[in-house]
Amino acid sequence: MFPDGNPPAGRLPTGIRELDEILGGGIPENSINIIMGAPGSGKTTLAEEFIFANANNGKRPILYLTTLSEPLDKVIRYLQHFRFFDSEKMGSAVQYEGFGTELTANGIGALLPKLKDAIKTLAPKIIVIDSFKAIHDLSTSAQDMRLMLHEVAGLLAAYNTTVLLVGEYRHDDIATYPEFAVSDGIIELARNSLGTRDERYLRVFKLRGSAYQQGFHAFDITDAGLQVYPRLVSPVEAASYKRDVNRTPSGVPGLDPMLGGGFWTGTATLLAGPTGSGKTTMAIQFILEGLRRGEPCLLVNFQENPTQLAYQLEQMAGKLDKDARSRLELQYYSAVELSIDRIVVSIFRALRRNGIRRVVIDALGDLATAAGDPTRMHGYLYALVQHFVVMGVSSLLTLETDPPIMASHESHGRLSHMTDNIVFLEIRSHDGIVGRTLRIAKARGTAHDLQARELQIDGGGLRIGKARG
């Protein structure tokens, strides 16, 4: 009858695996948490997903109290559109109750006896109050509200239950509303406009006694509920990884000798050049070489869909056999429609899922469009490249230099720092003849050919020609 030590606080899953990762395992049991955000930000959806993920018939029920924001019938009507909804749990494992009328009639003092009664009769393992902020509107004074909240917080802390207070709070409210002082966790949901699209973000402001992933994490709301894309951060083992000592052949005849045998495996290469200089062709050659060597490869493209890309690949290499095709993953995104978080997380998941050895991102300018600004893209790209390096994945990132979307001096400097190799493709006029050239500006850890060389192109792709003056 003497438990050993201090048991770690249990966690309740949110129903969203990625959010659980952000929260360090889920919402801590026996905690009071605030879910804040503007109307339409997804607060109620998150609360509902959480309760259905934890609802078990025959066990302690979950109480969802609605106050004065939305009528109960409306909440339940829309709840049924989500796939996590389970009608068999309604009325038993999940009990919705409208509390607005009682609050209006009796004032904020009605909340404490209501919660006591609920604990005594239902013994709920989770209590949601939606909207808690609306209760403020019924308060006759700030002092009354503070006293009531002190009592309510005391009661909820004394009992073995986990609480969500949902409300349309703004940032200013954090400093003034007393519930923020007594809460153990605060999750904010927000919506920002980016060009013609909206981006949804969540962030954890506070999670007492627990580590969590800081910063803004993108999410979407679908009929499955919240789809969360945790912010990609640099891998923790970045400082201690062991660099690969093998070479990764480029697939471009004549290029590997310029690099001392190919790119070092696990390095990142920036392939920069103007339109028509051969970047995509060289990127495809890089992928085809990997496929020929039996390596799983990922080609991320923003302009051609997988069918168009597969056609282009076959034009250069002939029809890919079944084995090669199975090792190739093509990802296509519309940079105008999708957030960079979603793209980067999808790339990262493919790396982990398929044991990818080579990656091409064609092109960084499109990724910058998805990010909204180059600075933001740099942060994500840096983390992604660090993951490539630690995982020993060789990457090739193409960069359009005409028009110079990412070609500012500052931008180039940052890209140069985060990549190991830089290859420039150029279109030059020489003796009145316009031709392509290739120049290696940087190849970390290897003695490389500094000479610009002619680049010939035919049906099989690019090949290195003679040196140009």
Binding site: D4, G5, K116
Partner: protein, 141 residues
């Protein structure tokens, strides 16, 4: 200093709850009453000691952090007094202090918050153990 929130009525008070927090006292009383036990209250250790000597409950459930006389000192004093040493002591605290409770002579320890099934189950076990202990003592004498 006794704080009788509930009149004992005709039933024998067998559990004394010692806690400074009225919500905890109220909820504990509710779930223990529901399980068929009678409950008395004290909101500090001194009042609890006084009540214990007066009514000799079967069980005292005490928080460590109570005013005047803390829960562990209360436990030591109860166990040192022949009149009260048979009272089973359950330390029910927000402090993770199972070892300290054991050293003070407590019969069981539970960490808050209140989980009604765990509380009632522990009380039942303590009553069974106490009853067996008393029977053994009677048998020996």
């Amino acid at each position: 200093m006794a704080d009788d929130l509930e009149p004992a009525g005709e039933r024998k008070v067998i559990i004394l709850v010692v806690d400074r927090d009225p919500h905890v006292r109220e909820l504990e009383a509710h779930f223990l009453n529901q399980a068929g036990y009678s409950v008395g209250f004290a909101k500090d250790g001194d009042g609890a000691l006084e009540q214990a000597r007066k009514i000799v409950p079967e069980i005292i459930i005490t928080e460590i952090l109570v005013p005047v006389l803390d829960g562990l000192t209360l436990c030591r004093r109860l166990k040192a007094d022949p009149e009260t040493r048979d009272i089973a002591v359950l330390v029910f605290s927000i402090l993770s202090a199972a070892d300290r409770a054991r050293e003070a002579g407590a019969d069981a320890f539970l960490l808050k918050p209140l989980a009604e099934h765990t509380l009632v189950d522990t009380v039942r076990q303590l009553l069974e153990a106490r009853s067996a202990r008393i029977k053994r003592a009677q048998h020996v004498s």
